[in-house]
């Protein structure tokens, strides 16, 4: 049995290490490590609850909106604030555009190079690529032989320069890359187009939030922006027109480029990769995108659970059933590290017992800065696959139609969704659903404004004098990577306790006291590994989860001084 460390794992957000045991070119076991710790949650207690979102937002600069939303929702839950309908819509617009933007970047810039061989694209025939594009990306204008010839020349010149930049050291020529040259060139051209597209599309966040990353117009009670059709600034008529244009052109790219490209990839790689990468088979979605004020029943993507890969039954979600253990994580619990603790009673005392850097391998019992969240003690996967599977099983309708259409086109079955490729497909389908829904939400906002409803903040409880002496709150949302929850306890008008359980803590958790692997540790078992020095197969499955490590590592300890001890030697 050989053990190989892959560190840094690149094309993810944050710092991650993976160690795999393998023989005969196959992975038999895996250990996932979050290798960075900031202690954001030590910084939150004692602060003004109305500023918590600014700090929590910095958990992640990639999914740069979702922690702000979870935070203001937690405060609004604690204080009993109902936000105006327009604030709900604006938040949906920010969230939905975050998803679309983040999913496109994930596919092209964080994931595609696991499937696309850059050097193979150099031998593509531009005319044949143009024909492939015309068949695949129907209606997309950049489809001429001249265009693909230019892209090929540009890449050739880049690689010939002796300065291969981002593409240098890639696993080009690895036997796992099997796409024909024309497909490689097509996807590489769209890699470059998506780089340009994303900076334009996310101007939606600049209009609604002032900037991206880290939009800034949130407020406990609503949004710190203005809706006034005739005003010189804020969301006026001109801004509405600009938003509509950005969302429309964004949807065009998703429909004509992203979704067909993922279909092309899935159809080609399905024999192997619609089978490999099966996670724990339990899926959890908090659901999100409320379309009225009645709660989870109005969510565009519903709340629910799936167990045992059964697409015929949706189980309810009770946040009280969520608990975290630190049996294999670099923390200590007063009651014993194997205890499962609900986040509202969460405790985190960092206690690093890993090897002293520099190290070659982490063989200590505890091996990650991530805790291990469990639902009723079981491992769950979160993310686009969880959301779509729950929606598919729960409601059918538009979601079922979109999923079935994609699967039929790529020659996949619904049960294939639980695989590596299934996650990739689910992410693309979700992007398409949300790109369309964004325009409907924008229309609702415009109609409200046309009817004279310009309210976007409920200021009734802005003044702390109106708050109860103590209050608990839970803010739930869906991040692009999956279910995200913030738990807060307020006391004396300040934050007494604050806890985050984030998507990558679910998906990338280490083992628990019973030795149950985290979701992607489990999914990596039986992954082929033709060359341990070039682990492209491992990256395929890992990236299908879209890891986001900075979010995932958190610590909170308002009372215990948070001493950190480091094992010496």
């Amino acid at each position: 049995m050989n053990r190989t460390a892959i560190d840094p794992i690149t094309r993810i957000e944050g710092h991650m290490r993976l160690e795999v045991e393998h023989t005969d070119n196959m992975v038999h076991d895996a250990w996932s490590t979050g290798t960075m710790f900031r202690g954001i949650e030590l910084i939150l207690p004692g602060r003004d609850p109305r500023e918590a979102w600014v700090i929590a937002q910095r958990a992640c600069g990639v999914c740069t909106h979702v922690h702000a939303i979870a935070s203001v929702r937690a405060m609004e839950d604690a204080l009993g604030i109902t936000i105006p309908p327009n604030a709900r819509i604006v938040r949906n617009l920010l969230s939905g555009s975050q998803f679309v933007h983040d999913h496109v970047i994930h596919f092209y810039h964080l994931h595609a190079l696991d499937w696309v061989d850059v050097t193979s694209a150099l031998s593509a025939d531009p005319a044949a690529t143009a024909q492939l594009c015309a068949r695949t990306n129907i209606g997309w204008p950049n489809n001429s032989a001249a265009y693909f010839g230019e892209v090929r020349t540009r890449i050739q010149r880049f690689l010939d320069s002796g300065q291969p930049g981002l593409f240098g050291g890639g696993y080009w020529g690895h036997p796992a890359y099997t796409l024909p040259p024309e497909s490689n060139l097509l996807l590489l051209a769209h890699y470059l187009e998506a780089l340009e597209w994303q900076r334009e599309f996310i101007r939606v966040h600049a209009i609604l939030g002032g900037k991206n990353p880290h939009p800034q117009t949130y407020a406990v009670g609503g949004m710190a922006l203005t809706l006034a059709p005739d005003a010189p600034s804020g969301i006026n008529t001109a801004a509405l027109i600009q938003l509509e244009r950005l969302l429309t052109t964004g949807k065009d790219f998703v429909d004509k480029v992203l979704v067909p490209d993922v279909g092309l990839l899935a159809a080609h790689y399905k024999t192997t990769w619609a089978v490999l990468g099966m996670g724990p088979g339990n899926l959890l979605s908090y659901g999100d995108f409320p379309e009225d004020d009645t709660g989870p029943g109005s969510f565009f993507l519903p709340r629910g659970r799936i167990t045992g890969r059964r697409l015929d039954t949706v189980l309810p979600v009770d946040q009280a059933a969520i608990a975290e253990t630190v049996a294999r994580s670099w923390y200590t619990y007063t009651e014993g590290d194997a205890t499962l603790k609900h986040p509202s009673a969460g405790e985190t005392r960092p206690n690093y017992t890993g090897p002293q850097p520099p190290y070659e391998s982490i063989t200590s019992v505890k091996y990650s800065w991530l805790k291990a969240p469990r639902y009723q003690g079981e491992v769950y996967e979160v993310g686009p696959l969880a959301r779509l599977a729950v929606a598919y099983a729960a409601s059918g309708g538009a979601v079922r139609e979109a999923v079935d259409r994609f699967l039929t086109g790529a020659g996949l079955r619904p049960t294939d969704l639980f695989s590596t490729l299934g996650r990739v497909a689910a992410r693309a389908i979700e992007t398409q659903l949300l790109a369309a829904r964004l325009l409907i939400w924008l229309r609702s906002l415009r109609e409200n404004m046309a009817q004279g409803d310009l309210r976007v903040a409920n200021n009734g409880k802005w003044d702390p004098a109106t708050w109860p002496p103590t209050a608990d709150g839970w803010g739930a949302t869906e991040a692009p990577r999956g279910a995200l929850g913030h738990w807060v306890r307020l006391s004396d008008r300040t934050i007494a306790a604050y806890q985050l359980v984030v998507p990558t803590t679910w998906n990338g958790s280490p083992r628990d006291a019973e030795g149950k692997r985290g979701a992607w540790e489990e999914a990596l078992i039986a992954t082929p590994l033709a060359d341990p020095e070039r682990p492209v197969e491992v990256l395929r499955t890992l990236h299908s989860f879209d890891p986001c490590m900075a979010c995932a590592v958190h610590v909170h300890d308002p009372s215990n001084g948070a001493s950190v001890t480091v094992r010496v030697g």
Binding site: A5, P8, R11, R17, Q163, Q198, T226, S233, D463, V566
Partner: protein, 350 residues
């Protein structure tokens, strides 16, 4: 922009040598449409640096077409990736031009193709081949406690990686507020011994430039690099390592709501009539009057907007230790908060 003149003192002889005296107009006439937008951007950067478009636009264009392309190593410490994401929002040159045509980004974990040893080899290769010729960009703070165990990459402490990569760098550019002074991990309550790059590399003799902001504005990064490529020297810096062209002036001075400030028209609650009319956000906690930054003029996301334009108060994120002064930005009720800061409307007060 900022203080005119602070960056104008550089030699012009070199400029003429580079461009053969050609003007932007001549270059435009000679080159195709693709180059047209590039040259337009060169003129824009000249403006940011407070340089006249003639002859500096053409000179910048030349500087950006030299080979080899400037090698860049981009390290992430205790960070959120907000600055590398901000880099991807560059308007012109666009992100694909930056990564393919203008720079050689040889190491950046968010985007590079290889992982593990192959990724580490890329960094080692650039350090060896381009000694004193690569720029080291650092995002995130540097955790100095616990022997570096709070941030490890490839089994090495970030402190070690940073020290080794900085040793042969041409210069170090700390992007974002965490690299500036430790940022959020260094705020009250933090336990990781987080500090900024200037403090960590103090005494190394390196040129260390800081671009605070949460995140930084990518235009300030490109302008800083362009300044070096054009003049073979870095822009003038203040005593905290911030380029004068970007941080030399006060935000409040160029704020579009300033006329309302001067007329005494203040927003008093979210969504009130004054808010809808774009009045001053000072009484909602705006930190603009004490904040050195060019957000109001450069703006974000292709010049689309900035927080105050969108309706939110400035958080003062380019100032040292801003996280521990955040409460000022969330006044309990409308109050004359921070009025003392701007008494007399000096505008440019830091």
């Amino acid at each position: 922009m900022a203080r005119n003149g602070t960056t104008r003192t550089h030699d012009t002889a070199r400029s003429q040598a580079c461009t053969d005296g050609r003007s932007i107009a001549a270059l435009l006439a000679q080159d195709g449409i693709g180059r047209r937008s590039f040259l337009r951007w060169c003129g824009y950067i000249a403006g940011m640096l407070a340089l006249p478009v003639e002859p500096f636009g053409a000179r910048i264009a030349d500087a950006l077409t030299t080979t080899p392309r400037l090698p860049v190593l981009w390290l992430n410490g205790q960070d959120c990736n907000g600055n590398i994401e901000g880099f991807l929002r560059a308007a012109n040159p666009t992100p694909s031009e930056l990564v393919l045509d203008r720079l050689s980004i040889d190491y950046v974990e968010l985007l590079m193709a290889p992982s593990g040893k192959a990724a580490e080899a890329r960094m080692a290769d650039t350090i060896a081949r381009y000694s004193r010729r690569y720029v080291l960009v650092v995002e995130g703070s540097v955790p100095t406690a616990a022997n570096g165990a709070f941030c490890c990459v490839g089994g090495k402490a970030f402190t070690q990686i940073l020290r080794e990569a900085a040793a042969d760098a041409l210069a170090v550019v700390g992007v974002g507020s965490c690299a500036f002074d430790g940022g959020l991990p260094a705020a009250e309550g933090g336990v990781t011994g987080a500090i900024g790059v200037r403090e960590f590399l103090a005494g190394s003799g390196k040129t260390i430039i800081t671009l605070p902001g949460c995140p930084m504005n990518v235009d300030n990064l490109t302008a800083t690099i362009v300044h070096y490529l054009t003049f073979a020297k870095w822009p003038e810096l203040d005593d905290l390592g911030r380029p004068e062209f970007a941080y030399g002036g006060c935000l409040h001075r160029s704020c579009e709501r300033r006329q309302h400030y001067q007329a005494g028209r203040f927003v008093l609650s979210w969504g009130d009539a004054g808010h809808q009319q774009g009045w001053c956000l000072l009484k909602m906690g705006c930190q603009g009057p004490g904040t050195p930054a060019n957000c109001a003029t450069v703006r974000f996301n292709s010049g689309t907007s900035w927080p105050v334009a969108a309706g939110a108060p400035c958080l003062g994120c380019t100032r040292p230790r801003f996280w521990d002064n955040l409460s000022n930005a969330f006044p309990t009720t409308a109050s004359p908060l921070a009025l003392h800061v701007v008494s007399g409307d000096t505008g440019g007060a830091r």
